[in-house]
């Protein structure tokens, strides 16, 4: 019961946040220099006078600002995010085609970062001054200070000319034609480098965090008890300690989702990955504002959904929160 009420409250809150994004979008269009109709049509696009008249009528641009806002929100509620005048297609269908690759990239990077990061952190925590701890420190430094697009390009140099074992561009080969099983393999093969590049930034944080968290937990009474019972080291580390050390990682993983999407933007551009980031970049060059604002909304939607899922997994991982009820 407590859980359901809690989830409902979070859902409502998420919806309010998303409406906030739309309101912000609306005001950004109006704050931009120039005629809003031109902004909507795309400043560079050769919008005809007829098109402009259509836009003015559709968005009610001659009406008071608040009425315009209501019209805008009403259109979005019907799934109408406007037209991309560059593609001459509705924004929503263009975005729908690009959401998949971005979600795949972001989730793959998150998975790699968490798995590798926790593994490194656990190994390092067992010897706080050891070799692995040094390695974690080096990786954290690179992950923090190296621009992600630069590490991506360095990996391209490495894998394109020195050890050519991974493809460095696109989601499938140019001449790919195969069945669905072969397609999955092909995509995963192309996913390897971009996902790993994006994972490096977050690998740094997860390894550092899980090292600190494991050092804490390994000193706790219940770990000493587990050892005193004569349990094997593997069982102590993985069953007793890790389960408790993983909680802060879930929290951070949720917070990082927005940053992951920002990183994906750059990584998609480096590796020609056909996702939302790539589309956003192209839309900037074409001054395709409806497209950009639509992408901003869907990116925020992804973050809100990710935060909700994080909350839920946190409640599953830590039963105290479920019964505690705030």
């Amino acid at each position: 019961m407590g859980s359901i009420a809690y989830i409902a409250r979070r859902l409502v809150y998420g919806v309010i946040l998303l409406i906030g994004v739309l309101v912000l979008n609306f005001f950004l269009i109006h704050a931009a220099p120039g005629d809003p109709a031109e902004t909507i049509a795309g400043a560079m696009g050769g919008a005809t006078a007829e098109m402009m008249a259509d836009i003015r009528a559709a968005y009610g641009l001659d009406k008071p600002l608040l009425t315009q806002l209501a019209i805008y929100l009403g259109r979005v509620a019907h799934g109408d995010f406007g037209m991309s005048y560059y593609f001459d297609q509705p924004v929503i269908s263009l975005i729908a085609a690009r959401v998949g690759p971005t979600v795949l990239l972001v989730l793959a990077a998150q998975l790699i970062a968490i798995t590798l990061g926790v593994a490194m952190g656990v190994l390092a925590a067992r010897k706080p001054q050891g070799l692995m701890s040094g390695f974690v420190a080096v990786v954290s430094t690179i992950g923090y200070a190296a621009p992600v697009f630069w590490t991506g390009i360095l990996l391209i140099i490495l894998f394109a000319s020195i050890i050519p074992i991974f493809p460095v561009s696109g989601m499938t080969g140019a001449r790919f034609s195969g069945g669905s099983a072969a397609y999955v393999v092909e995509v995963l093969y192309h996913l390897a480098l971009p996902a790993f590049t994006l994972a490096i930034i977050f690998l740094a944080q997860y390894s550092r965090l899980s090292r600190a968290s494991m050092i804490d937990v390994l000193g706790a009474d219940y770990v000493r008890t587990a050892r005193a019972k004569g349990l094997g080291e593997g069982k102590v580390v993985f069953k007793h300690a890790l389960r408790n050390a993983v909680l802060p990682i879930i929290t951070v993983a949720g917070i990082q989702f927005g940053n992951l999407i920002s990183g994906a933007l750059l990584v998609e551009s480096v590796f020609n990955w056909p996702g939302m980031g790539r589309l956003a970049f192209d839309s900037v060059l074409r001054r395709d504002y409806p497209m950009l604002l639509g992408i901003l909304f869907f990116a925020a939607l992804m973050v809100v959904v990710a935060n909700l899922l994080t909350d839920l997994s946190y409640r599953i991982a830590d039963p105290r929160i479920r019964t505690g009820g705030r």
Binding site: Y144, P147, W150, L265, L266, S269, I295, L296
Partner: protein, 292 residues
Amino acid sequence: MSLVQPAAAPEAISPLREAWIVYRRNRPAMFGTLLLAVIVAFVLYGTFLYAGDPYEIVWAPQTPPGTEASVPLGTDYLGRDMLRGLLKGGGPTLSVGAAAAIITLLIGVSLGGIAGYFGGWLDDLLMRVTEFFQVLPALLFAMVVITLFSPSPITTAIAIGVVLWPQTARLTRAEFLKIRELEYVTAARSIGARNGRIMWRVILPNALPPLIVSATLTVGVAVLFQAGLSFLGLDDPNTMSWGLMIGTNRQYVLDAWWPVTLPGVAIFLTVFAVSLVGDGLNDAFNPKLRER
């Protein structure tokens, strides 16, 4: 209170001096400070020693570094001098980074301070606004802002500042919440100090240490943001910057590694130095962490 006086009372030193003593002994932090000083010196004065237009084509395209005396670090895909670009390109990267950090601090400290000091509905409202900005993917939002308003270093700095402030706001709020309950704040209030004075003259100076640390680290993040935006070609193309150098040369990376690698090294070293300084300041201001 004991009546027995200690034989030799240790000389009282100010907290700032104490922090400096700790900082000076911290080798990574001193290394970072030195590295940062060298980078800033190169960016500020380098162009006096090695003048020239970074856009000018001076030698054969893609001359490797160290092969031609007149272009010590080689040339890019058009034959432009890499060293000129690196020296000129540091200015926008560093100044936009610093300006963005200042904007972040201004917005974050004002909103966080008001939220933490007044509490209640104002706190609730401001924290909701903060959360709202945290939901927006920062780089994407910055891209939208720069595209809608014409690209220039000032727009870039504002766009970065506008997306990075929520963390500073949360930190400031937490500090203000903690400090406003302390005796000296009550004392200030009892002698009739107004809210504004208490907030900015009494609480803020005492909340500064963590804010300084966070501002330092924000400079690093802002430098990365500036680099990312100019790499994507969203910054003004007539302003040479490290990110722009990487962006314009990346298509030819398989023919020549240096035009992309060298500016990246410059960005990496800058952010690395900034993070060492930030970590050092954190250790110096936090006596609890000093043992580690």
